[in-house]
Subunit: 85 residues, 2 copies
Amino acid sequence: MYKAKITITLRSSILDPQGKATHHALGELGFKSIQSVRIGKFVELEIDAASNSEAASLAENACKELLANSVMEDYQVEIQELVVR
Amino acid sequence: MYKAKITITLRSSILDPQGKATHHALGELGFKSIQSVRIGKFVELEIDAASNSEAASLAENACKELLANSVMEDYQVEIQELVVR
């Protein structure tokens, strides 16, 4: 069993209004040294696969077909093996 | 300048309907080997700080005060130094 940790972020050329609002709110709370905020999604998949690379390609396909919008977003996949206790 | 990469996830005891819906949709698309899906948030902060540990404590405070709901969510902070080119 593998765990895929996927972070999906807006491409840097795309405006991020949610990040802008959060940046403003952090400034109001006194966090003046925060220069920028960008907000994305985090997806954790548990995958039944025979190998690390099989899990990675499955997670990548899931991003392409459903999880990420490849026009506006980038994604990064990190695979971890789950040890059954 | 430091970059904080923050992942905010629902605690494992909390139901994740968004993850359940995504799991179902992935199943319909033929991803039968995905056993579970959990969805969280990803926040990237650029912080003007004097040291790695100052950036880390600032990011942690931002999580506690605004970004995460500590009743329902866990968060993880990872700090990277940004090299100015």
